[in-house]
């Protein structure tokens, strides 16, 4: 067990090290950022001063050393446009993204689980088929298409919800739904299949044979055992959700870290871009690590094998 733990943590750390290194060198591949950020025809002295201010005059390895040191000290340099510390910008925006994740997570579990159970119990009639159809659509519809359709319907036709921004929780409702859609669909699918799996087991027949009422058969025996694969899929999808936030936040301009990263990439604001990539990668890697460990704790049957 300890061995497994150590290996997983080592793997996560190695991944992040590769990410940090790759991000640093990739963003420097295109040459000196000052060359295209400063207006043409600027006098050489000012240019040199600007280059020195952002530390771009030092050798690459020294810059890399400073970069790593800065990473641990929380100093990731200044945004090329806003001239503010990158970490301050992200600190400002992270709460919006976390709030959005929270809504999306709650939404997909609270709506997905009952629908999955309903689809399993009603599998032979139209209700079950309808739920699975919706789940398939939720899984297959591209994020931005869903976003566009929702903005059209709920903002412009019905005037119920604001189309962008993050001023109130209501602003985050549509982005949360779009972000949650694939996860919601996966939870429906997995909880349905897990429940159907469990329902064909002998111990359920025994429970029914001894005269247990149906709601107890399902509630006490079936649901509990069906929970394990569902927990796994939630964990897997959370990592995917962090990755999808980039696109969803850019569409709805929620002032989170996702839209920040996209606009940094378009505007080539490297300090903002590189920290954003590192931050999001760290979030994803950490979430998958935690999910893996939780999974081992929840399900004693999981074999921790060396591979």
């Amino acid at each position: 067990m300890l061995d497994f733990l150590a290996r997983r943590i080592f793997g996560a750390a190695a991944t992040l090290l590769v990410v940090v290194t790759a991000v640093f060198f990739a963003t420097r591949l295109s040459g000196n950022a000052m060359d295209y950020l400063l207006p043409p025809g600027i006098d050489p002295e000012t240019q040199a001063a600007m280059v020195a201010r952002f530390g771009l005059d030092q050798p690459l390895l020294v810059q890399f050393g400073n970069f790593i040191a800065g990473l641990f000290q929380g100093d990731m340099g200044l945004s090329l446009y806003e001239r503010r510390p990158v970490t301050a910008i992200y600190a400002e925006r992270l709460p919006n993204t976390l709030e959005l994740f929270f809504y999306a997570l709650v939404l997909s579990v609270v709506v997905g689980l009952p629908l999955g159970v309903a689809a399993a119990l009603q599998r032979k009639n139209a209700i079950g088929a309808a739920i699975m159809g919706v789940a398939f659509l939720g899984y297959a519809t591209p994020n931005f298409v869903l976003a566009i359709v929702m903005i059209l319907v709920f903002s412009f036709k019905l005037h119920w919800l604001p189309s962008s921004g993050s001023a109130t929780p209501l602003h985050l409702l549509m982005p949360a739904i779009v972000l949650a859609a694939p996860m919601l669909a996966e939870i429906i699918r997995f909880s349905r299949n897990a429940l159907l799996d469990v329902m064909s087991q002998d111990y359920l027949r025994t429970a029914r044979a001894k005269g247990l009422p149906e709601h107890l058969v399902i509630g006490k025996h079936a649901l509990r055992n069906a929970a394990i694969p569902v927990v796994t899929v939630i964990g897997l999808q959370v990592a995917g959700m962090v990755a999808r936030c980039v696109l969803v936040e850019a569409v709805f301009a929620t002032k989170g870290i996702g839209d920040l990263v996209v606009f940094a990439a378009i505007g080539r604001d490297y300090p903002v871009l590189q920290f954003g990539v590192i931050l999001i990668a760290t979030l994803v890697v950490t979430v998958s690590l935690v999910v893996d460990l939780l999974y081992v704790l929840i399900d004693p049957r999981v074999k921790v094998t060396a591979s």
């Binding site: 963003t27 696109l247 990439a265 378009i266 871009l273 990539v277």
Partner: protein
């Protein structure tokens, strides 16, 4: 060697069946919905191929007198522009036809590149094992751990947005799926008696790989390719939608949606028309992938 072995392993009655091509056999086994998906996809392919020839206008041709016209059936529609026009008066039907072709081209070339990279690395990891194999699998783990959108953002920020960059970005995406599955398949195939027999008979590595191992892994590769193809279409569309794909005014389906976003309130059709096409194609490919996986009985875990 194989020629000697095959009559023994395959009963005589099946040898004639094996003559018919893989696709014809699949078609015979396909149920009604699967035949519908395949036929619809054939139509999509046909439109992709000849669509631009049928387009009534040049996709970038502007007409200031016919700006923001809705599709036929709505007020102010012009019969010359059945799907309407955008803010510059460009014909949406023509742009959609050209955009579909470019999107499919990028997705096809990109996904083939990632197929080749992934299969090569997967075969090496499964066949050679040892240090090299572990190194490749470590790379796979890293690629799985890091969201691909981030890599795409970095690459586009560094190299700018252009068609070759977009294809290259898509080419490096998704290789890890092939590598993981191909490695697992190669590992299990290599333990089969006929491969061990070939090794014992002293067949060179190349012959073992291409005559014995790869043909047995082929159906898994085809299934993975189909199943990731819709993801590739969506990746291309998402990047173009964000303005990180091809340069304007060139149309891909994603970039058309991205441009149409600004006119959603007044002229929703600009974004809706290409959105529907993207959704239709990606759904279709997804359904075919699902069916193919079951039909070829490939285990992907």
């Amino acid at each position: 060697m194989t020629d000697l072995v095959s009559p023994v392993t395959h009963p005589k009655g099946r040898s004639t069946q094996r003559r018919s091509t893989g696709f014809a056999r699949l078609w015979q086994r396909a149920d009604r919905p699967a035949r519908l998906y395949l036929s619809l996809f054939a139509v999509v392919l046909l439109v992709t191929l000849v669509g631009p020839l049928l387009a009534p206008f040049h996709p970038d041709e502007q007409s200031l007198l016919a700006r923001l016209r809705p599709p036929v059936g709505f007020d102010r529609a012009m019969p010359a522009h059945p799907l309407g026009t955008d803010q510059l008066g460009r014909d949406l039907l023509s742009r959609t036809l050209h955009g579909l072709q470019l999107t499919m081209l990028i997705a096809l070339v990109g996904s083939l590149i990632s197929l080749v990279i992934g299969v090569t690395l997967g075969v090496i990891a499964g066949y050679a094992r040892g240090r090299l194999g572990s190194a490749i699998m470590a790379l796979v783990d890293i690629q799985i751990a890091v969201p691909f959108t981030l890599i795409a953002l970095l690459v586009v920020a560094v190299f700018g947005n252009s068609l070759p960059v977009l294809i290259a970005v898509i080419g490096v995406s998704g290789w890890e799926v092939y590598a993981r599955i191909v490695r697992a398949q190669v590992l299990s195939v290599s333990r089969q008696p006929f491969v061990e027999a070939a090794i014992a008979a002293g067949a060179p590595h190349g012959r073992i790989l291409f005559k014995h191992v790869l043909p047995n892994v082929a159906s898994a590769i085809i299934v993975v390719w189909t199943m990731t193809f819709s993801a590739v279409i969506l990746l291309e569309s998402s990047l173009s939608f964000l303005g990180l794909g091809v340069q304007p005014p060139t149309a891909t389906l994603g970039s058309m949606v991205g441009l149409g976003r600004d006119y959603l309130a007044s002229s929703p059709w600009i974004a809706v028309v290409p959105s529907l096409v993207i959704m239709f194609v990606s759904l279709l490919v997804l359904l075919i992938g699902d069916w193919l996986r079951d039909a070829l009985d490939v285990k992907l875990k």
